[in-house]
């Protein structure tokens, strides 16, 4: 594959067009919007930490950060949580990604849905499902005591274990998809070539396949780590007091004591942590591996640390190859090889992946039965059957109002997001213009910067201009979050579009409008629809921004659920969660199908 594909990718530079090097007008809305509602608020938030409460320059907040041991401890606890989450996610996701990468395409597409469904199911619903499963009277404990494995219920949530389970569950799909992207790019002939040279199974995997997947492992690790650092929903609901994350401290400073400057200082601390991690990462792997395909293996140059890491890695994989080969040889002596059947190692892979898929997909479903309980509290198994909780939700103006608001906000956000981002994505995909890389940076920054910064920064800004606590505030905030996603998805669609179709239409006499209307749009339509639904789901499910910029009676559904769950986990919440689970699943499935069926064999298909 390698050379032919590389050649195809590097040839055919788009013909230079007049006006190529001018700033593109269609990128302006996005640029202005993000500058005003992302860069300005975040920078403001971080910079006010260098002023004291009277507004004069001071480092008093940083002095406090250093002096009070709590903050250092929380930072360490946060890093610990992030590190172990990363570890579990990588270990769990690797076999799944490997299975997906080596399955037939039709199988792979369905398995990907299985991985992605929970990813797009509300974080709140998933966290809530874990409470149902792992609580003192939850399903797992009931089974354990029923079989006499334990006498008393095991404490599985409201501690570190609970946080690990919840966060690994939340972030594993991200790890799977990141590694899958790299694994799909690996030429399957490479391991076959190694076999013809005499390499056995273990050597083929550890010395050929595994090193080639390292860029994927490394970027998945970084993404999960960074995402974990900015997490708070799962630790807040599944952790104990000692599992407080640094973001929760920021929330406390804003919501309880309204100390902007100190919250900003904690934010700066988090930013410094981020930068340190990026630096270490760059030293070991090189930042260029992010998103890099497997085939562009970096020649060993640059830092000494990286060379050293490379050598250690080679030694480790060599050792693992020897051990695995020896183990296979020993095993093969016991179990005679069956010809043509599923090999022993493949069978093991299926088993492991089945367990991981179960871990990813099944727990969420537990919210459904408990929502039909006739009791006033959560038990397992639930006493069936009652619709009282659904009735309660549908008769409550608060819940209905929140749901309606979330729906309207998501609809407007997705529309505005598309309106701004689609022209921008077209420009980014097709034209070269001055400031293109800067624009790329600006558009993708909201993906990396934790939402909490955006949320607090916007809260600060909106309070000044007097729109905090309004629906407009949520829409504006969500649009910031949604724009990068829309740009990414539309970019992929536009890049997969063969521009020769446009050229062909032009040679047949179609005007630019006609070409777009009759050729371009029909081909990319399904991608656009999927992108819109993607944006809708993100906004509908968003909690962080809503937590800050809404207030009083103006609340969204996720915010109401979160605050309800903090107080008590009731069957009413289970009913809401079940409703959300079903409706969102339908939307996700529909958008997946639209994207695939209508794709005309373009892009990801």
């Amino acid at each position: 594959m390698a050379s032919a594909d590389v050649a195809a990718a590097t040839t055919a530079p788009s013909p230079a067009r007049p006006g190529t090097h001018r700033l593109r007008w269609q990128t302006l809305p996005v640029a202005v919007f993000l500058l005003a509602l992302f860069v300005v608020p975040v920078v403001t938030l971080l910079s006010i930490s260098f002023f004291d409460n009277d507004g004069s320059p001071s480092l008093e907040h940083y002095k406090r950060l250093v002096d009070v041991p709590l903050y250092g401890k929380v930072l360490l606890a946060t890093i610990k949580v992030a590190f172990f989450t990363m570890l579990f996610c990588i270990v769990g996701a690797y076999p799944v990604a490997y299975l997906l990468a080596t399955s037939r395409k039709s199988t792979r597409n369905w398995l990907i849905i299985l991985v992605l469904m929970p990813f797009w199911t509300s974080v709140l619903v998933r966290t809530f499902a874990w409470i149902v499963l792992l609580g003192r009277k939850g399903a797992v404990n009931q089974v354990l005591t029923a079989f006499g494995i334990t006498d008393a219920p095991v404490q599985m949530i409201y501690n570190f274990t609970g946080v690990m389970i919840g966060m690994t569950h939340a972030l594993m799909p991200l790890a799977v998809m990141t590694m899958l992207a790299v694994m799909e790019g690996i030429d399957p002939n490479l391991t076959k070539a190694a076999a013809t040279m005499g390499a056995k199974g273990g050597t083929r995997f550890w010395r050929i396949y595994f090193p080639l997947t390292m860029p994927g492992v490394a970027s998945a690790a970084l993404l999960v780590f960074i995402a974990s650092l900015g997490y708070f929903i799962t630790p807040a609901l599944l952790g104990g007091p000692q599992d407080t994350m640094i973001v929760q401290l920021i929330i406390f400073q804003i919501r309880e004591v309204l100390n902007w400057q100190f919250a900003g200082a904690i934010g700066v601390l988090l930013v410094i942590t981020f930068m340190l991690i990026f630096m270490i990462y760059d030293r070991v792997f090189g930042l260029s591996v992010i998103g890099g395909a497997a085939r562009t293996a970096s020649p060993a140059e640059g830092s000494m640390i990286r060379n050293y890491a490379g050598r250690v890695g080679t030694a480790i994989t060599w050792g693992l190859a020897q051990i695995t080969d020896a183990a296979i040889t020993v095993f093969a002596r016991w179990v005679p090889a069956r010809r043509g059947g599923v090999g022993f190692s493949r069978g093991g892979l299926y088993l492991v992946c089945a367990l991981i898929f179960a871990f990813i997909a099944l727990p969420t479903l537990f919210v459904v039965p408990v929502s039909f309980t006739s009791e006033a509290f959560l038990t397992w198994p639930p006493k069936l059957f009652s619709l009282q909780w659904y009735q309660m939700v549908f008769e409550s103006p608060v819940w209905l109002g929140a749901a309606t608001r979330s729906f309207v906000v998501a609809l407007i956000t997705a529309s505005v997001g598309m309106l701004f981002a689609v022209p921008c994505a077209f420009a980014l995909a097709r034209d070269n213009f001055r400031g293109k890389s800067a624009l790329f940076g600006l558009v993708f920054a909201p993906l990396i910067v934790p939402n909490i910064f955006i949320a607090v920064g916007l809260f600060f800004l909106f309070s000044r201009i007097g729109i905090a606590g309004t629906t407009l505030a949520v829409v504006l905030g969500h649009t910031v979050i949604v724009i990068p996603y829309v740009v990414v998805t539309v970019l992929a669609v536009v890049k997969g579009y063969d521009r020769n179709l446009d050229h062909a239409a032009a040679t047949m006499g179609a005007s630019r409008m006609q070409t777009f209307h009759r050729v371009t749009f029909p081909v990319i339509r399904s991608g656009m629809v999927a992108s819109f639904m993607f944006a809708f789901i993100i906004s509908f499910d968003e909690l962080t921004i809503a937590l800050f910029v809404t207030g009083g009676r103006v609340t969204t559904l996720p915010k109401l659920m979160y605050e309800d769950a903090l107080l008590a986990v009731s069957p009413r919440l289970a009913a809401v969660a079940a409703l959300l689970l079903v409706s969102m699943s339908i939307v996700i499935l529909a958008s997946e199908l639209i994207r695939r069926k209508g794709g005309f064999g373009l892009g990801t298909k």
Binding site: A2, T196, M197, A199, I208, R339
Partner: protein, 366 residues
């Protein structure tokens, strides 16, 4: 005696993909030092056969013997082969040197002996200076040669090549064909080669194995295949040919007498038992036919009108319509002085021995 000199023996090899039969009871022998090319259209089973020899797919029946050992159920890693993949499959995370070292390492060649073997391999392919580069930094032709070096460095029993020149442009391909041939001679190794390019097969091979629909259509030297095709498919697939349908009317002095519509009576070599009146296809190569000056006499003479003249470099192709819609192609070396003009009337002739007669199994279709 020949049995023990066989590098590769294949008996009754069968491979099915679902309901489709990719290989149908194939027998093949490859002697030591031979260069054999599997040639055929796509889907003919040639790559499936090569991969079965490599141990990369599981045959549904039959046996594969490599170097006198039954290798049918030996995994690829235990077969002592070298393979060049269509797109080379060079390991992107290893340098050229590490790539070439890999098969040596796998065969437990002592570390002390490897550098010398690698240096020799790099000398053979005339790329001594690229050892420390990564493969992505090399050109397509260079990558191809590295893949070759990696395949032969460990002195395997057989070297398998799966359309190794398919991704290169014509000039480079021509050059590398000769390069591979030179390597084959110098190393005195045995090569099983797959291609769909007949010219490539002709240039490189000791023998060609023509495949069609999962079976071997004909196996023989390039010369045999070209001038004595065994089947209509072989005649049609290789090179250009004049194929004209007709029927057998009798025999005369060990020659078949044919009746071809629009052409008349022809004589052709009598090879197989024939059936009076049977439908046949008569085959000649365009270069076996000549335009007669008037005094010459050949076994077969046909008059016709020049329909078209195409100069394709060294060869000039003259298309002569001989009546009843039939056209005969005559190829001769392009000459500056002698030119045939469109519309000219002339006589074409050839000796009976250069023609071949095949049973017409196309008639059902027409």
């Amino acid at each position: 005696m020949t049995e023990c000199k066989n590098k590769l023996t294949i008996r009754g090899l069968t491979k099915r993909y679902g309901s489709a039969t990719a290989l149908d009871r194939v027998d093949l022998d490859l002697v030591d030092g031979e260069f054999l090319t599997m040639l055929g259209p796509s889907g003919s089973g040639k790559t499936t056969l090569l991969w079965a020899v490599a141990g990369l797919n599981d045959p549904d029946g039959g046996e594969i013997w490599i170097d006198g050992r039954d290798a049918t159920h030996v995994p690829a890693s235990g077969r002592d082969i070298g393979m060049v993949f269509q797109n080379y499959a060079l390991f992107p995370h290893m340098t050229v040197r590490e790539n070439i070292s890999f098969p040596l390492e796998m065969r437990k060649v002592p570390a002390a002996n490897r550098p010398q073997a690698i240096r020799r391999a790099l000398e053979m392919i005339k790329l001594e200076h690229v050892g420390d580069r990564y493969c992505s930094q090399l050109s397509g032709g260079q990558q191809q040669r590295i893949a070759l070096a990696r395949a032969f460095v460990a002195n395997p029993s057989i070297i398998l090549m799966d359309e190794p020149l398919g991704a290169l442009d014509k000039k480079l391909r021509d050059h590398l064909q000769l390069e591979i041939k030179r390597l084959h001679d110098e190393l005195a190794t045995t090569v099983l080669y797959v291609t769909h390019d007949q010219e490539e097969a002709m240039v490189m091979s000791d023998r060609i194995c023509l495949m069609n629909g999962g079976r071997i259509e004909q196996i023989g030297t390039p010369d045999e295949l070209y001038f004595r095709p065994a089947t209509l498919f072989a005649a049609d697939f290789l090179g250009e040919s004049n194929l004209i349908s007709g029927r057998i009317v009798g025999e005369d002095a060990d020659r078949l007498v044919l009746e071809l519509p629009g052409i008349g009576t022809l004589r052709a070599p009598s090879t197989t038992p024939y059936e009076q009146g049977a439908g046949i296809v008569h085959f000649t190569r365009p270069e076996s036919l000549s335009i007669l000056s008037g005094t010459e006499i050949k076994d077969n003479l046909v008059r016709g009108e020049v329909a078209d003249v195409v100069v394709s470099g060294a060869l000039t192709k003259v298309f002569v319509s001989v009546g009843d819609g039939a056209t005969l192609q005559v190829s001769q070396l392009t000459s500056v002085s002698q030119r045939v003009r469109k519309g000219e009337l002339l006589t074409i002739g050839w000796d009976a021995d250069v023609g071949r007669v095949f049973a017409d199994n196309r008639r059902e279709v027409a």
